[in-house]
Subunit: 351 residues, 2 copies
DNA sequence: CTGAAAGCGCTAACAC
DNA sequence: GTGTTAGCGCTTTCAG
């Protein structure tokens, strides 16, 4: 059994092997210029002592920490946590470590301390995995440029000169709208997310545009704003049924609110999808088991995180400091529609 | 506008201020022994240059990194991500940083590299936030003791001489069982989680014990094993209805599987709760909006993470190296039953 | 092939 | 009050 002592340093290994620390360094870094015998002897001492090089000391001298800073928010929601899931997998894969910060609120705006904490720990790059909400992007030009470190942003409106990875929310809801129209729904209402959120605005815009292209004039009472929660979905649906009496379908901006809306429809004795069609967004694993199963938009949040990591590592390793740094680019992931019973009324007689 | 240059070091600040690096050190550490004028002058240079001390260099010399290692698994599930949510909040609160590792599988057993990565980055303590599954705890005595570093474990069977923070799964399901029995259900089946999981075994044991105490003999066909997913819930429920024809209630080990079971009940034309009572576990936010709303067991996973952080920081700061280290202790959180329509048949006529 | 010297950015211990 | 020296654990020169 190895003994429980404070870990040995390179010096102690050197002493125990009868060589200089330099030679130990060469062995642990797998440099070629060590004689086989020396290498073997040193290796044995390393194993015996359980020596592991200090990543800290290395980071200091090499000016590369092989550590990524990740800033997230709302880990209690499935979206951010699935994305983080993809980030951790890719970070691990690349042999990096991950320093995590979670903002207390989505619209937190005092980001200086966050950056300080990350930069003072010498992260090689930062993934800003916080949705664009309200004014929480105003600092980009002010602050981010001060820090000479690559940053990649998730889930936000693409901007000039920065790297962004996002999901195409607009196309997602357009797909859902096309499907509802094909199914013969004519009076499609919308429950949006909070319009403070860029994603909510994108999804709503898709609804509006599709209506317009179908020759329906937009009216304020065709639409109610929710806050992503199921409870807000029930409130929004109640209001919507009241103010939009012709309504025969609801495009809901996420699955949770759609679940709330379904509950209200049931309470009113409306049959889904015959009397009212409903679609969601996110494709929660549970949505396939709602009553009835929910038509929704699937987007790959895991992959979102994975791609962000791969991109930033590419930027880091291609030499951020070089004369010609890697050009910032935006990556947009395309979602897909998952058709389920909640919107499929073609099989039924029209009422 | 501050200029975008590589961050200044303490040396440059010293040169610019015309004092020694030592004095700079005293100022940034708020030591008393600096004259007001010097302090002021240095402070100004610091602000002007945008100097921030390197946490890395400090960690190296102080032998304290103010960084916690957190190991998790299954961030795509709500449980682990809510717990991480609590961890990040508490870590931030305490002024620590957080190094995150996610295991690719719950039952991963090659933990040596994980520890190496964390220890080589000089974390002050480790939170092992991975559920106890299969053999994934065998290494505790072998490996963990090799590392002279405090570790706290979440969600596992309490053991001698280690610090554990868990939720009382057993009591949770006992509460649910008492409630079902009070409601007059007599033939209560069970859909368990995978019995590889300690939590699944605890929940099942509560069901068994409650049956026995109620004078019902346990039979193999009163029970089916699921894998936590809604899909497995449907399969398990189908099988259970087949093999346990008298069944009038199902104690389901989590909300997702309960949702699947509800779907099957509906398909069979059974009314919930009149013909079949159903309870879940976890209190997913959505469970209040299932059709009907689901009776479930609430447990505070956020707080679980928060407490773990507070506990390990207490251990670290009370002097892990001292002669008499802090005694390991277990913290067990008590869950609460949330009664909703899916199990409330007292209001209805018995059929 | 191997070692000695210097130093990454900072602080502890001691002078003065 | 302030500066000097040494060194955290490692790697990068540069000799030999």
């Amino acid at each position: 059994m190895r003994q429980k002592v404070s870990r040995p340093t390179i010096k102690e290994v050197a002493a125990a092997s009868g060589v200089s620390t330099q030679t130990i360094s060469r062995v642990i870094n797998e440099r070629p210029d060590v004689s086989p015998e020396t290498r073997k002897r040193v290796q044995e001492v390393i194993n015996k002592l359980g020596y592991r090089p200090s990543a800290l000391a290395r980071s200091l001298i090499r000016r590369r920490s092989h550590t990524l800073g990740v800033v997230t928010a709302g880990l209690n929601y499935t979206g951010p946590s699935r994305t983080l899931n993809g980030i951790t997998a890719a970070v691990e894969q690349a042999g990096y470590a991950l320093l995590l910060k979670e903002l207390p609120r989505f619209d937190a705006n005092s980001n200086e301390p966050i950056f300080q904490a990350l930069v003072s720990r010498h992260v090689d790059g930062i993934i800003w995995a916080v949705q664009e909400v309200g004014e929480n992007r105003n600092w980009i030009n002010k602050l981010a440029l001060d820090f000479d470190i690559p940053i990649i942003y998730l889930t936000m409106e693409p901007r000039e000169n920065i790297s962004v990875v996002s999901i195409n929310n607009y196309v997602g809801e357009r797909l859902a709208m096309s499907h509802l129209l094909e199914q013969g729904y004519k009076h499609i209402g919308h429950i949006s997310g909070p319009l403070e959120w860029w994603e909510a605005r994108q999804r709503m815009k898709a609804w509006k545009d599709a209506l317009q292209e179908g020759g329906v004039e937009f009216r304020e009472d065709f639409w109610v704003e929710g806050n992503w929660s199921s409870a807000s979905g029930t409130r929004a649906a109640e209001k919507l049924f009241e103010q939009y009496t012709d309504m025969d379908a609801i495009l809901v901006a996420n699955d949770q609110m759609a679940l709330g809306a379904m509950q209200i429809a049931h309470q009113k004795g409306l049959r889904i999808p015959q009397d009212i069609g409903i679609t969601g967004f996110d494709n929660l694993p549970e949505s396939a088991f709602f009553g009835p199963p929910l038509t929704t938009v699937n987007h790959d949040q895991y992959n979102l995180g994975k791609l962000a990591v791969e991109e930033i590592i590419k930027i880091i390793e291609s030499g951020w400091d070089e004369e010609v740094p890697t050009q910032p680019k935006s990556i947009i992931l395309e979602p897909a529609l998952i058709v389920r019973a909640s919107s499929l009324r073609m099989g039924y007689e029209n009422k």
